[in-house]
Symmetry: C2
């Protein structure tokens, strides 16, 4: 077994456990926010509370069906709040929960990386 150690991808048992734990945490986060639309929806809501139609317009390429499904998922995970106002006709607004707000830093990193990636790709052409 000791001879095999050098071939292992995580050199020590401690690092191997840490490696697995980190992968699990990253996958936990990805399970919640993965897919093409969840983070763009959350980002749109960082600019203020929005109605369904407003989000549909702001997030290019999203369909009403997808937006509706994603909003339900985000609500279930306590990231987005849906508020119904007793007006005539009824007004429905979506907002970020405090917990949803904890994703802002992550979204900031995605934005920074995405912006430089676009620059890099355009520079290559």
């Amino acid at each position: 077994m000791a001879g095999k150690q050098k071939e292992s991808s995580c050199p020590t048992q401690l690092e191997h456990a840490e490696c697995g734990k980190r992968i699990m945490a990253v996958r936990d986060a990805l399970d919640i926010i993965s897919g093409k639309w969840k983070l763009p929806i959350i980002l749109a809501l960082t600019f203020g509370d929005k109605r369904f139609k407003e989000m549909e317009r702001d997030i290019q390429g999203i369909t009403a069906k997808m937006l509706s499904k994603e909003l339900k998922d985000l609500e279930m995970n306590d990231l987005v709040k849906r508020t119904v106002y007793d007006t005539m006709p009824v007004t429905v607004e979506y907002s970020l929960t405090d917990y949803g707000g904890t994703l802002k830093k992550l979204i900031g990193e995605l934005h920074t990386w995405g912006a430089q990636h676009r620059k890099r790709i355009l520079g290559k052409k």
Copy 2:
């Protein structure tokens, strides 16, 4: 038109443009790294260069077919490098490119968020 302004999700034209640009940058980043496996693969490679079999073992739940597809995508986007060593039998190792390394900060944020999310969920039970 001016009367409609208040209903808009982005209060000023400038903010509206900024809102769209940010969503686009986040989506650019997500296009490259989205899906269940790309970031876990990149994370596994931050622990050092690895062979295919090592990654298959470290990333629980991934199949050889998925791993192979994802590695090809990552190679195409210059995030991962595949090196063939002229040994008998041939050895193939995968490593993170310098560009792939620029994702470390983003992965760090995902790790932090994922770890606290797991704590939060476990706390609720």
